[in-house]
């Protein structure tokens, strides 16, 4: 019987050997399958060290605070609440990350290669390191001012303030905002309830960033692009263009009129027509003088069809179908299927202020390690020239006229050169009936040294009468705040 016992002993060893082989395979070799599946476990690790903070300038807008009596060592807290909710995003056990928390997740969670030499041994041993900080370009006071200003109007809306020369985003407010602290709570019930309230129950969709995720009919602010196309193709501020109280494009019986019959003259200069925002002028211009390609090229040069990554992603702005004259006539006054994001509209103003060179909008000023040492600077990036310098100059002339004596006079700032364009966009959700129109204003201001100092776009969702004037008012205030510098 002994030989059989010996053989059985060998078989038993083979079984155990198979186990050792298998556990080596499972434990020692990396499998792609584990990616994602390991998330829960990684999460625990991740919550075991403080995640990096997010700052707006020197104002703390997101931080990790230690918890007590919890499996998770830290939880996320957003001290500035609603103002920055759509910039920071959330960092939730259940729902993951969004916005800046997602875009800079590697750095914030300490796994970024930028931090590899921060703590060399931790890198080698694959230990968790505290995350680095993100310092955004946002000016906290300006952001709050923008948010509060829109909040005061009583409608939803958004505002973007840019530095035209660098593309730095100084404010990017969307109203209503929200505070991601509760959604980011480590307590599942709190987080779930907050998530329900914010994402599903609130009809205003506070977590929807109206400054970049939503695109809306731009109304008359789109005339800036039409004017740019016109000037690029040989026009100037002084060119005589047709106006009139009404215009009916070929192939349709829809009559285009002006909002208050402010352009009765048959002909006037482009400057005057732009300042008065004559719909007839620009509809006719698109149908009679500009080709489909001219308009499209100019729009694309300004960034239509592009997704910006600031690093927060924005929706793309679109022209829609402008092949038919009738469509084009509507599209050129910012109706029809034209849709623009607030960020895009601000960028158009900024580009014009910056002599036609379009700077990539950016939110990140600086990345640091957990000790506060800079590991990466934001830098600036040009997206190329949208329009020639001359065109930009001509456009600035007509935009100045808008603020000086035209529809955007609310945006005037004493002692500074300001230009812009108002817009009122009709829109309807359903098939019948129009809702209150959106109010738009996009513009820029030159600093005391004559260099472009600030560009802005304000959007008021379904504000109704006086929408564009209100938008211009807010824009003026915001630009003034930038020009005056930080209030000491």
């Amino acid at each position: 019987m002994n030989p059989a016992l010996r053989r059985m002993g060998v078989i038993a060893l083979i079984l155990l050997g198979a186990l050792i082989a298998q556990v080596t395979w499972v434990g020692f070799f990396h499998h792609e399958d584990y990616e994602g599946q390991a998330a829960g476990r990684t999460l625990l690790d991740e919550y075991g060290v403080p995640r990096g903070s997010i700052y707006a300038g020197d104002v703390l807008i997101a931080q990790s605070v230690p918890t007590e009596n919890s499996d998770y060592g830290y939880q996320r807290d957003y001290p500035e609440g609603d103002y920055f909710g759509n910039i920071t995003g959330f960092k939730s056990l259940i729902y993951g990350v969004s916005n800046m928390e997602a875009a800079e997740n590697d750095l914030l969670s300490g796994t970024s290669s930028l931090l590899a030499f921060d703590d060399f041994w931790a890198t080698v041993l694959k230990e968790r390191k505290p995350g680095g900080d993100v310092i955004t370009t946002i000016d906290a006071d300006l952001q709050k001012a923008a948010y509060d200003a829109i909040a005061e109007t009583g409608v939803n809306g958004a505002a973007v303030v840019l530095d035209p020369q660098t593309g730095r985003i100084l404010a990017q407010a969307s109203y209503p905002g929200w505070n991601p602290t509760e959604v980011s709570s480590n307590d599942g019930d709190t987080a779930t309830a907050a998530w329900e309230a914010v994402m599903n129950e609130d009809e205003d969709q506070p977590a929807f960033d109206r400054s970049r995720q939503g695109h809306y009919p731009p109304g008359s602010t789109f005339k800036t692009i039409v004017a740019a196309a016109f000037i690029e193709n040989g026009g100037s501020a002084d060119s005589i263009v047709k106006a009139g109280n009404s215009y009916t494009a070929p192939g349709t019986d829809h009559e285009i009129t002006n909002s208050s019959n402010q352009c009765p003259a048959e002909e006037m200069t482009l400057e005057e027509a732009f300042a008065k925002s004559c719909n007839t002028t620009f509809s006719r211009m698109c149908v009679e003088e500009l080709s489909v390609e001219d308009i499209q090229e100019t729009a694309e040069a300004f960034g239509f069809g592009e997704v910006y990554e600031t690093p927060l992603y924005s929706a793309e702005s679109v022209m829609g179908d402008i092949s038919e004259d009738a469509f084009r006539a509507q599209a050129c006054i910012g109706q029809q299927e034209v849709r623009e994001t607030v960020l895009q509209n601000a960028l158009i103003a900024a580009t014009i202020a910056n002599d036609g060179e379009r700077m990539a909008p950016q939110l990140v000023d600086e990345l640091t390690d957990s000790a506060g040492e800079t590991v990466q600077k934001g830098g600036e990036e040009s997206l190329g020239r949208s329009i020639s310098k001359d065109t930009a100059e001509q456009l600035r002339i007509i935009m100045e006229a808008v603020v000086d004596y035209g529809s955007g006079s609310n945006a005037q700032i004493d002692g500074y050169t300001v230009g812009g364009k108002t817009g009122t966009a009709e829109h309807s959700e359903g098939a019948e009936g129009s809702e209150a129109p959106h109010g738009w204003f996009h513009g820029w201001a030159m600093g005391e040294d004559g260099e472009p100092a600030v560009a802005v776009c304000v959007f008021l969702d379904s504000y109704g009468d006086g929408a564009s004037a209100q938008a211009a008012e807010i824009s003026g205030d915001l630009m003034q705040q930038v020009l005056d510098g930080p209030a000491d």
Binding site: M8, T24, G27, F28
Partner: protein
């Protein structure tokens, strides 16, 4: 009861010399104590590093828990030393070490539990599941002691083979007939619950059935190893011998159907199969058995959802995460845990093993793998491997077939159960829901595991103890012709006396002398494992044999030197053999007078030899001859 054996057994292969020297195997108490101390230090360090990792401080439990464990371990060790002094010195330290790791780790899992209230750092030694496990350990050691004290010789168990069979079947089958509220847990019906107390009867049923298998297969091995047809180069058994395997097969499948317990069913069947192979040495049995079992599983597969679930999860765990029907969450968490641990592990107390459902029972190896890494896991697997191989060695050294088969079966049980559990956890085979012996939380499992150790210790003690005088005697068991010659001699003697002639020396004796002279040196020299000990044994022989007492004298040699002289001294039968055989070994009694009788032969040879040789050893298992030549005894195959 095993009578037929000695009459029919034919060695299949060359018979093997026994491995145990005449003076028994060395006890190595020093090394055993060293191992226990090392295990104690390891368990303490284990606990210490966990506490430091979890709370940065030590509490009284940090010291108390390993201490209590160590004291219980010492009790287990002392019990074994006292009741089975010759047992293999590795069994208790390894089993105790594994149990200690289990206790400490289960407590560690309690500390960071996420599915229920976590255990506070300062909770008492007996708090939580880890504390309960410690109490189970105490119970297991008590039961081990009782077992060793009551069962003084493993052969006794043969007498209860059928009782054990029916008890085993009853225990294994009981949950299948109980309402699900009492017996169901996690898809399988293999529990019995009374309020908060629950046992898993299959843990004990396994051992009972294993003992029965050993008895039964030893008795039937000759029949079962008779060759039948040969197909494709494979020697098949006879068709009419398929009865037992079919019955066990049917029982296993029935168990699978009634209790939905794939693990126990698979385990029972493979134990039977492995023991069948060990008993008969016919590989065809394994082939037949596996074919039957796999065929059976395939046949019932379509009708059993939980079987399909397990196979589906096993074939692609990643595809079923969060799947409402076949949720592979547990398996995937286990795999992820092991993978997270990597080579060195996250450090004891520094991982998140609580994410694995049932981390303290079915998946404890995955949890340990996360924190102790591949190195820790392989270390534990090697501990098991040593335990298993010592079990097989015990079987090989054992002096009787029943002991061999039982030890081999137990060793294989440990190996196969580990394979089934850990293979399931690591995705090597479908999950079957068995517990990891010694490590996993659960009283039934721990007590069952320690009873298994008790059985191995019992067999080992018998296999490693010094040879007894009686063995020497029986070793020389006379061939019939020798007895005839003795009778003839006696007759001649009497005839001579009757004639009052003084010549008694020569005459008929040569014939009578010859076998003894051949046999004595034969078994002593042939008895391999020849060490100095044996030389000593051989030494005294030449001087001692009185010319006239051939059958009686040889036993003196080994008897008087191999065992303490005091054992020889008493004329009253019981004491010396009793101490080694235990009172319970009924069948042994008849032979007992034998050792004493040889003292008389010099004067009156006639009566004793017949009493020794004439009555055939009532129990062939008891008399394994060290001699390689005696084919009546089992010298192996």
């Amino acid at each position: 009861m095993a009578q037929p054996m000695s009459a029919t057994a034919r060695p299949v292969g060359p018979s093997e010399p026994p491995l145990t020297p005449l003076a028994g195997m060395p006890k190595r108490i020093g090394r055993e104590v060293t191992m226990l101390l090392m295990a104690g230090v390891a368990v303490f360090l284990f606990q210490l590093s966990i506490d430091v990792a979890l709370t940065d401080t030590t509490t009284s439990v940090t010291y108390l828990l390993p201490l209590v464990w160590f004291i219980v371990t010492l009790c287990a060790w002392a019990a074994v030393k006292f009741l089975a002094p010759n047992a293999d010195p590795l069994f208790v330290p390894i089993a105790a070490f594994l149990t200690g790791i289990g206790i400490v780790f289960i407590r560690r899992l309690d500390r960071t539990a996420i599915r229920e209230e976590a255990l506070p750092a300062d909770a008492g030694v007996f708090a939580g599941q880890g504390g309960r496990q410690l109490m189970y350990y105490m119970a297991a050691v008590v039961l081990l002691t009782v077992f060793l004290a009551v069962v003084r010789n493993h052969r006794v168990l043969r007498g209860y083979a059928y009782i054990l069979l029916f008890a085993g079947i009853a225990l294994a089958a009981l949950p299948g007939f109980l309402p699900a509220s009492i017996s169901s847990s996690g898809g399988s019906k293999n529990w019995i619950r009374f309020g908060s107390f629950s046992i898993q009867p299959s843990e004990f049923a396994k051992l009972m059935l294993l003992i029965f298998f050993a008895v039964y297969l030893v008795r039937k091995r000759d029949m079962l190893s008779v060759a039948g047809k040969k197909i494709l180069g494979l020697q098949l058994p006879r068709m009419k011998d398929l009865g037992p395997i079919v019955i066990v097969w049917a029982a296993s499948l029935l168990m699978l159907i009634m209790e939905r317990d794939l693990g126990t069913s698979l385990l029972l069947f493979s134990i039977f199969l492995s023991m069948l192979y060990m008993a008969t040495r016919r590989a065809s049995w394994i082939l037949i058995g596996l074919t039957m079992f796999i065929g059976g599983c395939i046949a019932i597969y379509p009708f059993f959802g939980h079987l399909q679930t397990r196979v589906a999860i096993w074939s692609d765990p990643w595809a079923y995460v969060g799947d409402p029907v076949n949720d592979s969450y547990q398996l995937v968490e286990g795999l992820v845990a092991i993978n997270t641990g990597g080579l060195l592990g996250t450090g004891l107390g520094a991982g998140n093993p609580n994410r694995i459902p049932a981390a303290e029972s079915d998946f404890i190896l995955a949890a340990i793998g996360e924190e102790a890494g591949l190195i820790g896991l392989i270390g534990i697997l090697l501990l098991y491997a040593v335990l298993v191989e010592r079990g097989f060695k015990t079987g090989i050294m054992s002096r009787d077939l029943f002991g061999k088969l039982m030890a081999g079966g137990l060793a294989f049980l440990v190996a196969f159960q580990l394979f089934v559990v850990f293979g399931g956890v690591t995705g090597l085979i479908p999950m079957t829901g068995q517990t990891t012996q010694f490590l996993a939380a659960g009283g039934s499992s721990l007590v069952g595991s320690w009873l298994l150790i008790g059985l191995l210790v019992r067999v080992s003690d018998d296999a490693r103890k010094p040879w007894q005088a009686s063995f020497g005697l029986q070793k020389t068991e006379a061939p019939p012709e020798f007895l005839a010659e003795q009778a003839a001699k006696r007759a001649a003697e009497e005839a001579a006396k009757a004639q009052a002639a003084g010549v008694a020396d020569s005459g008929p004796i040569p014939g009578g002398d010859q076998p003894t002279e051949l046999i004595i040196p034969g078994h002593l020299q042939g008895g391999p494992g020849t060490g100095t000990v044996e030389e000593d044994v051989v030494g005294p022989l030449p001087g001692s044999p009185p010319p006239y007492s051939p059958p009686g004298s040889p036993p003196y040699g080994p008897g008087s030197t191999g065992s303490p002289t005091t054992e020889r001294a008493p004329q009253t039968p019981p004491p010396p053999p009793e101490s080694s055989y235990g009172p319970a070994s009924g069948p042994g009694l008849p032979t007992r007078p034998a050792p004493q009788s040889p003292q008389r032969p010099p004067q009156g040879p006639p009566p004793p030899p017949p009493s020794v040789f004439g009555t055939p050893p009532p129990d062939p298992y008891r008399s394994p001859p060290p001699s390689g030549g005696d084919q009546k005894k089992e010298g192996g195959e």
